[in-house]
């Protein structure tokens, strides 16, 4: 038999290397940067923009001075090192004054108090933010507001304790009256703490403070400033505005005409005016609307106004979440025989809140950024209040960029962190498998 097929391959060839332009970095650059004339132009423009930014900022950053006592000294050092006419950053101002940017004019020897309050704040927030932590830790979160207040403002410990005890009084009243009648119990649970705060809290605080004098040095509100102030206003307003926002959103979705119209009017009014006008209301007008002679702390007034402002925005975000739920969810809750509050708590709100997480967090970010506006009612925010105060000293007169960059960077870290956390939360709560 003759072999006819002389050209049959019985061995596979080893695969060839891809062409140089189709592998590795070259391929990536071709596909991502130069895939067509339009993209090439964009890339070149982008490179040019980066070059321009770096070229204009680099000399200034390279010539940075970190230790100096005042701006003139800074400039002298730069001129001596880099020659006549050179400009450079003078980070010495941050090095010397960073405590003011963080603590405002809080007394130096008491810095441990805001520090401790901030650390404990994170301890209190941890069980709220991360579900892995044991639920018992929530008790600490519940008492933290009183503790934080005491650490920051000082005074007698019994004041926040007695104030917090009001909630216990309300709960006790509810338990005591619940066997009688649910409605009576609910009224009692509201009235008892109010009466406690109005009439009993003051004398009881005085008596307890006399028996066990536990107090810290008092720090007045006008000493507060910097990031401590921003965080106080921001965190308080955030934690108060969420429940208020939920209540307003439910009110706006309600069937009851009066409740609905009140919610609509409130939300639209707050959303229709700038925050600055509300802050002016807090500083100028609040005294008009309170009984003559009454006066209370400016930080508290600002917190109230910022809370009201944020809650209107959060209410709208949550309303969007409520509207996005399919009607079947409401009908299913009704079919199960759940009453209004059970349906909201077990079925509607968990889903609606999950949908609204991105919006809620961006409202929070906006709120935190807006805390800088308190400078316009005379509080020392880190951005303008403290920066102006630093510039007012003869040492640092005429310094502009460095404080802004420092404060901006800190704000960026806070806000960017919050938006990343919201992404984490979204991923964790995602239940639909698409």
């Amino acid at each position: 038999m003759t072999r006819t097929a002389t050209f049959v391959r019985d061995q596979m060839l080893a695969p060839m290397e891809p062409p140089l332009t189709e592998k590795g970095a070259v391929k990536w650059v071709r596909e991502n940067l130069f895939s067509g004339w339009f993209n090439s132009i964009l890339t070149i423009l982008g490179l040019f923009a980066i070059y321009w930014l770096v070229a204009s900022a680099w000399p200034w950053l390279r010539n940075s001075v970190w230790t100096a006592d005042n701006l003139a000294e800074c400039r002298a050092v730069i001129q001596a090192t880099w020659g006549e006419g050179a400009t450079g950053a003078c980070w010495a101002v941050i090095r010397e004054r960073w405590t003011q940017f963080i603590y405002g004019f809080y007394p130096n020897h008491l810095y441990w108090r805001p520090n401790l309050a901030m650390v404990l704040m994170f301890v209190a927030l941890a069980p709220v933010l991360f579900t892995q932590i044991p639920r018992k830790a929530l008790w600490f979160a519940a008492v933290y507001p009183g503790l934080g207040y005491w650490l920051l403002w000082g005074g007698t410990l019994w004041f926040p304790v007695v104030a917090l005890a009001g909630f216990a009084v309300g709960y006790a009243a509810y338990r005591a009256l619940a066997p009688v009648n649910v409605i009576v119990a609910a009224v009692g649970a509201v009235l008892a703490p109010v009466l406690w705060w109005l009439f009993l809290a003051g004398p009881i605080t005085g008596i307890l403070a006399d028996i066990v004098p536990l107090s810290l040095e008092t720090v007045r509100s006008d000493r507060f400033g910097g990031f401590v102030l921003s965080v106080i206003i921001g965190i308080t307003a955030i934690s108060l505005s969420l429940p208020l926002g939920i209540a307003l959103a439910l009110g706006r979705q309600s069937d009851m005409f009066l409740v609905k119209s009140l919610s609509v009017v409130f939300i639209e009014f707050i959303r229709g005016v700038p925050l600055i006008t509300l802050l002016f209301t807090a500083s100028l007008l609040l005294n008009y609307f309170l009984p003559p002679g009454s006066n209370f702390d400016i930080i508290l007034r600002v917190v109230i106004m910022v809370t009201l402002f944020a809650s209107a925005y959060i209410a709208e975000v949550i309303r969007g979440g409520l509207a996005a739920l399919p009607k079947g969810q409401y009908e299913a809750a009704d079919a199960l025989g759940l009453n209004y509050w059970q349906a909201q708590r077990l079925i509607i709100l968990p889903q609606a809140l999950k949908i609204s997480i991105p919006g809620i967090v961006s409202s929070f970010i906006g709120l935190f950024k807006d805390t800088t506006l308190v400078v316009f009612v005379g509080l020392l925010d880190p951005l303008k209040g403290i920066t102006d105060a630093v510039r007012a000293s003869t040492d640092w007169k005429g310094i502009y960029w460095e404080p802004y960059i420092f404060v901006g960077t800190l704000f960026f870290i806070f806000c960017f962190g919050m938006s990343r956390y919201s992404m984490y939360l979204e991923r964790k709560l995602k239940t639909d498998h698409r």
Binding site: L33, P274, I276, P291, G408
Partner: protein
Amino acid sequence: MAVITDVPKESFRLSMLIYDTRYRSLTIQVVVFFLVMAGAAWLVDNAYRNLQLLGKDFNFSFLWTRAGYDIPQVLIEYTNDSTHGRAMLIGLLNTLLVAFLGCLAATVLGIFVGVLRLSKNWLVGRLMTVYVEMFRNVPLLLWILLIYTVFIEATPGPNAYRTLPDGTPGMSMQLFDTIAVTNRYTAVPDPLFSRSLGEISLGLFNVSVDLLALIAALLLSFFANRALLANATRVQEATGDRPVTWWKSLLIWIVPVVAVLVALGFHLAYPRLQGFNFVDGINVSNSLMALWLALTLYTAAFIAEIVRAGIMAISKGQSEAAFALGLRPGRTMNLVILPQALRVIIPPLISQYLNLTKNSSLAIAVGYLDLRGTLGGITLNQTGRELECVLLMMLIYLIISLVISGVMNVYNASVKLKER
């Protein structure tokens, strides 16, 4: 025989107001009503007593008294002899001016950035992400102050543009020698009409007839173009072929406007250095420039995200289906993608316009006299009428917001998906 009787009709008992869901909501509303009324009465009573204690009354007559302060930048005629009411109007117009300019520029920049962020170009995508994150996560106040600082610290004085006596030429102006950025103001060309038709008085302020003529020409073009397109549609329905209209549309838009401009003798007066300052052009104060730029850059970052989300929300199947039907890319965009994407984009976009308008009240940081600066600032301090000024200011901002959101609701209703 079993007799089926009706369930005995329950007579109304007082406890049904609480336990019967038919009446409970009524009870709650009545309680809420009384609580709200009591609260309002308490507030009004407090205000009344406080005003009495301070020896003040509540009236707005101060609006008709002499203001006595100057406003650096005015759109309509104003002197310090004018009334507080007119100063308020100036402030309002200044607010609207910066809001309008800001919305316009922010929309253009935002769409640009949003589209570029979706581009396949890695470098440009990253750059736009950096821009968006940088502006979204830092307070607006910081951008306003920073840009203002750039203007007053990093730009030359008007003198730098001067040709020195020894013949050394000064700086040349920016943008083909038309705009001069200085540390006090930005001098821009002034549009002028050599055969102007003058102005007519509208009671509160004067309106240039030239401007009215331009608007009339634009309106004419708008209706003519609509008629042209309607006609094209009719022809298409009758014959199946759509006549080419784009060059006719272009002509209809351009010719009347150019004709009006030429007839009125339109020309630009370029800024020119005389003495220590620029004359002939319009000197736009740096506070306005800084506020405008900062509001634009800040809001554009948000608009970019809205645009990106809107385009990404339209599933790929939509464009594939349009291609399968034989639509060209341009018509796919116009007829399929945009109408759906706009429905997602427009509501948050309008709320960004609202935010921008409200944020313009930060003008206080750079000393631009807007509504908050005149009515809520100088007038308030001079007259000492906090209650009236702040309430009036809130009311005006509220009206602006309601008008904008009213327009939004009308538009929203017209593009809403018609569902069950």
